[in-house]
């Protein structure tokens, strides 16, 4: 938890730095710098970034923002509608929903971010290996992906979780991460394949660069942008998926709150206790939409074909 606290603040600080950083015009802007400038000019995307920063900061600072712990029961009458003392109301056990939503973000957000980081890493490694491999190895590796992709991810997760039982948070990250990299690997593989035909790849070969060096130095920086876009969109997706799992009772196990299982707690009587799904639902929807908007803007900003357009 303490690790996440500092990590969360660091990420938030880094985001603020990038967003606020006054890009002094440099004489020779590289492709990354040009993309950043374009992203920053995208209004909705920047709004999303600020919203996400706010969410990150709020959840990270939860212990100092709310006076009730997320698992403190009977601090007020149970299922009480929002009041000044408990702005998000209380749940069936008399726990403060505001506290649970904030602490829930402290679980849901790192789960989403870390599992996407994991799947982007695995996907890139697998895809790049496949893309540089011989025709036959590549074929086998990709057919394997096709086969796994034929199973819907949610069903795959439900099946695994049914066998696994109640997962701990690290287990959940591991499961979400290891089931989410198939799409990324295809993307990277296609990019690397296309790069192989580029003359500068042949030129790098002609200059004596090793396989590994060709991959790390020459190919990967060129496939990074689609991976970044896919990962950003992926975070929004994972937030939803984790909520769905939580709702099904397969995700983060109570009493530890997550955005999904708070809604689950109120699922018995949705209309009577509307605050039980409106507030965590809002958090989920805002996060997912923000990541999607930011991802779309990143895609535009990183697309080399958009040079000169905006």
């Amino acid at each position: 938890m303490a690790v996440w606290l500092s990590a969360g603040l660091l990420i938030a600080a880094a985001c603020v730095a990038v967003a606020r950083w006054n890009a002094a015009p440099v004489p020779h802007p590289g492709p990354w710098r040009i993309a950043l400038a374009r992203f920053r000019a995208h209004g909705p995307a920047m709004a999303s970034v600020y919203l996400l920063i706010a969410l990150l900061v709020l959840t990270t600072l939860a212990p100092w923002l709310v006076s009730y712990g997320p698992t403190d029961t009977l601090i007020a009458p149970s299922e009480q509608p929002p009041t000044l003392a408990h702005p998000f109301g209380t749940d069936f056990a008399g726990r403060d929903v505001l506290s649970r939503v904030l602490y829930g973000g402290l679980v849901s957000l790192p789960v989403a971010l870390l599992s996407v980081l994991l799947s982007a890493t695995i996907g890139t490694a697998y895809g790049a290996t496949s893309g540089l491999a011989s025709e036959r190895v590549d074929g086998v590796m990709m057919r394997l992906i096709d086969a796994i992709l034929a199973i819907p991810r949610l069903f795959l997760l439900i099946a695994v979780l049914a066998i696994w039982g109640s997962p701990s948070v690290p287990t959940l990250i591991l499961l979400l991460g290891t089931t989410g990299w198939f799409g990324v690997s295809r993307l990277v593989r296609a990019e690397v394949r296309a790069l192989r035909g580029e003359e500068w790849m042949v030129a790098a070969d002609a200059l004596g660069a090793s396989r590994r060096r060709m991959l790390w130095r020459h190919a990967l920086p060129n496939v990074l942008s689609p991976v970044i876009v896919a990962a950003t969109l992926g975070v929004g997706h994972i937030v939803l998926l984790e909520a769905a799992l939580g709702y099904l009772g397969l995700g983060v196990q109570p009493p530890t709150p997550s955005w999904g299982n708070i809604i689950q707690d109120g699922a018995q009587s949705v209309f009577a206790v509307w605050w039980m799904f409106v507030f965590p639902g809002l958090a989920i929807v805002l996060t997912a939409i923000s990541f999607n908007v930011a991802g779309d803007a990143l895609r535009d900003a990183l697309d080399p074909r958009q040079v000169g357009r905006r």
């Binding site: 004489p27 020779h28 590289g30 492709p31 011989s134 025709e135 580029e198 003359e199 500068w200 042949v202 030129a203 790098a204 070969d205 002609a206 200059l207 004596g208 660069a209 090793s210 060096r213 130095r217 020459h218 920086p221 060129n222 080399p304």
Partner: protein, 351 residues
């Protein structure tokens, strides 16, 4: 001639295709002496580039160099080296520059980074040493303000500047052999001359050999001392550059020379060689040029011509070497007799 630097013997490179193996390079042999510039000419699809990629063993599978081919370089047999030792040769002992300097540079790195990369691959130079050598190399290739230019990305440079960057990359390790594959084709004529001049100057300074691949005889005349003419995967003529221009022997060489416009020669139309190179999956039997040759007779269909020795250092893959009287055009031939006649007539080769 002293011990050759590069000695290619019976090089055969084939690519499997649905129509059978394409024999892109089909039994090519030649030598390059130290400090010598050899031109390799021919039209598109005759196997020039495949020859150069074969020397560096950069043929992408399923294409392959057939067993029996030999490429000796500095006394080593390149085709039997393992991949690691081959990599040590690429870029350091044999370097290559490409036709499209934009396409051959990685778009996401500064050009300085890319030049320095060569030193980082082949030596244990530190980042800073490699960088300063890269800047020095850029200065040597005539790039003004190299310290500043090194920080630019390929898209910020002009075509000529990019080609200079490619040359700087290629010469970073002082390679004894430079393969230049159409180094000036993508450039403006004025820049073309500058780049050729630069190559000549650098060659004298560092004392390397150059294999210059081009379809432009003008480039060859300015730069090379000896010329190899390639057609349909084979070398059809080899001669010193003066000899080739003054007394070409092979009808294909004649045709190529006639197709070059010259000042002071009135022509209504440029000469062309009729037809195109046949597909590499299906070389004709006998002489591969016979369908396009103005002198072809029955022997050309029956017998594949060997490389005949014509004179000092001149070789030609044409039966005319044994039956020179047939060079007079047959009546009703395709009208190519005006070739090299210098009569000022419209020397149109097309039917």
């Amino acid at each position: 001639m002293s011990e050759p630097l590069l000695s290619v013997r019976d090089l055969r490179t084939t690519f499997p295709t649905p129509a059978g193996p394409a024999r892109a390079v089909d039994g090519v042999s030649f030598d390059i002496a130290p400090r010598e510039t050899v031109g390799l000419v021919g039209e598109s699809g005759c196997g020039k580039s495949v020859t150069s990629l074969s020397i560096l063993r950069l043929i992408q599978p399923p294409g392959r160099i057939e067993t029996g081919s030999r490429i000796a370089f500095e006394g080593q047999e390149l085709l039997s080296l393992d991949e690691r030792r081959m990599r040590a040769i690429r870029g350091a002992r044999i370097a290559m520059i490409f036709q499209e300097p934009m396409a051959a540079l990685n778009p996401v790195f500064t050009v300085g980074d890319q030049i320095a990369e060569v030193a980082r691959v082949h030596t244990d130079a530190s980042r800073r040493e490699a960088w300063s050598r890269a800047v020095e190399m850029m200065r040597l290739t005539g790039i003004s303000d190299p310290g500043e230019r090194a920080r630019q990305y390929p898209h910020e440079l002009s075509g000529g500047m990019r080609q200079r960057v490619m040359i700087a990359m290629a010469l970073m390790m002082n390679p004894p052999l430079l393969i230049a594959d159409e180094p000036t084709t993508a450039l403006d004529v004025t820049i073309q001359a500058q780049i050729l001049e630069l190559l000549r100057e650098l060659q004298q300074r560092v004392g390397m050999s150059i294999l210059l691949i081009t379809h432009d005889l003008g480039v060859i005349a300015e730069t090379a001392s000896r010329v190899l003419v390639m057609y349909a995967g084979e070398i059809v003529e080899e001669a010193a550059v003066r000899r080739l221009f003054d007394a070409p022997h092979h009808p294909y060489t004649e045709g190529l020379l006639a197709a070059v416009p010259r000042l002071g020669e009135a022509r209504e139309r440029l000469a062309v060689i009729p037809g195109t190179v046949p597909p590499a999956t299906d070389w004709p039997t006998g002489c591969r040029f016979r369908d396009r040759c103005p002198y072809a007779w029955d022997r050309c269909a029956a017998e594949h011509p060997p490389l005949y020795r014509i004179g000092e250092g001149q070789w030609s893959r044409c039966h005319l070497a044994e039956e020179p009287e047939r060079r007079e055009p047959q009546s009703g031939s395709r009208g190519a007799g005006v070739l090299g006649s210098g009569s000022g007539d419209p020397a149109t080769l097309s039917n």
